[in-house]
Amino acid sequence: MSTENHRISVKNLVKKYGDFTAVNDITFDVPAGSTFAFLGPNGAGKTTTIKMLTTLVHPTAGTISVNGFDPAKHSHDVRRSFGIVFQDPSLDDELTAYENMFFHAGLYGVPRAETPTKIKELLEFVELWDRKDSLAKTFSGGMKRRLEIARALLHTPSVLFLDEPTVGLDPQTRNHIWSYIKKLNVERGLTVFFTTHYMEEVEKTADTVAIIDHGKMVAIDTVEGIIAKAGTASLEEAFIKLTGHTIRAEGASAADGFRQMSKVWRGSSRK
């Protein structure tokens, strides 16, 4: 009943890989026009959740609605309705900024008559119009991210997914990137769903914070609400209190590595 004003609605979502449970029964809603920070230590299930929301992985159980569509059943409708900036760069380095935009417009069926104006508008928005004919490989990390944000907006999505959009960038660039994102949220009413490890970014930006650990939702509230509940002085302390001090494996665990290996040899037979 509440999906009307919720851009994303997730109920009892579960994802299992063999007998490993990556996401264990999580439920949350993302109201339209809000900024939603999805936090957790490495390997907590953040990326798996984003992959399920964005049609790349199908859930084992539970329901998802993104803009009123089920990603598992109506993947094309869902895909047209969101923009995504992946954790790892996803530009074609051998193409120019303009060409990267142009190819995206083609893939997403942006009307061809509108394409040039939209590309110009967005490249101007992220201040890359004067570099439109430069190859993406000549761009700095921050410029690449800006280009990816512009590209993600080309098909006018109503939700923008950002998976660690500022990882590896210097504070100036991070600030710069967030100023664009904030502007999109405030001026265009874009719903923003993001993950990050930088707590000050969350404090500055997020309307709602969800913290996930070991596949379970451990807290979901406003920044102030979470700090108050944890009884700490800052969000960072609250985060550590809620998710523990143990250092998580950077990237893949041994089990992930094994899964990867077996995937190489068995091909992609498993859907």
């Binding site: 790349l56 094309h76 995504i84 992946f86 074609d92 051998e94 193409l95 083609g106 190489v264 992609s268």
Partner: protein
């Protein structure tokens, strides 16, 4: 919707073309090997071949080396998917609201086009080296070149769809590409080979490509032009289908 599918195929085709012509080092680099084979084998073994009563070796060799140029470029174009996976661009295409089949077809057609350019470049070089083909048969030769290119771009796509990273690349070069090249009759006549090797040659799609090229460019053939055409066409259908199927199974 229909026209959109064709537009997407066109867009992905265009991307392959742009990347190819932008990478001058790749164009020149991948011409090096065919030139080396043409010069070293053509002039090195030429006199022996002539003495054995085979005639002009460059004439015999050129269609084989043209096929080789196409084979390498085509497989490599297909395998580029692994690079796209590593550099992230693959995700961008896989999360787009378009059927995987149109992505695969666009990439394959683009890769095959690039491979044909490479084949034409080798053809021109072999003419400089002394190759004298029947110019009237050029359109037919190009048709065969497109056929070879399609088969092996699809094969590259199939391989890249099941490999996760470049670690298996050397394996593929040594156990797939090289055997295909050497056991195709590109370098030597296959009429008098031992029976076991002949079986391998007969199972090799490139054998029919090379033989077809010889049939149209020189008028000499082992299998016969009809057989070459039929077998190569069958391989195109089979390999493109397998490639499309495996590509549709890629996980982002």
């Amino acid at each position: 919707m229909k026209s959109n599918t064709f537009y997407i195929i066109y867009i992905l085709w265009l991307r392959q073309i742009k990347r190819y012509f932008r990478s001058k080092s790749r164009i020149i680099g991948s011409l090096g090997q065919p030139i080396l084979f043409l010069v070293a084998l053509g002039f090195g073994l030429g006199p022996v071949y002539a003495k054995a009563g085979g005639g002009n070796y460059i004439q015999f060799l050129a269609p084989g080396i043209i096929s080789m140029g196409i084979l390498f470029t085509a497989i490599f174009s297909g395998i580029e998917i692994i690079w796209d996976r590593q550099f992230g661009f693959l995700k961008e295409t896989l999360v787009a609201p378009v059927p995987r089949l149109s992505i695969m077809l666009g990439r394959t057609l683009g890769g095959a086009t690039v491979a044909c350019f490479q084949g034409l470049a080798v053809l021109i070089i072999s003419v400089i080296a002394g190759f004298r083909p029947e110019l009237a048969s050029l359109p037919m030769a190009i048709a065969f070149m497109i056929g070879i290119a399609l088969v092996f771009t699809a094969l590259g796509t199939a391989i890249a769809s099941v490999l996760e990273d470049m670690q298996g690349f050397q394996l593929i070069i040594n156990f797939v590409v090289m055997p295909i090249f050497f056991l195709s009759g590109a370098l030597f006549p296959i009429d008098s080979l031992p029976a076991t090797i002949k079986v391998l040659v007969n199972l090799n799609p490139l054998s029919y490509g090379v033989d077809g090229l010889r049939a149209v460019l020189l008028g000499t053939s082992h299998f016969g032009l009809g057989m070459d055409t039929a077998v190569l066409a069958t391989f195109i259908v089979v390999f493109v289908s397998i490639g499309a199927w495996l590509f549709s199974k890629i996980k982002a």
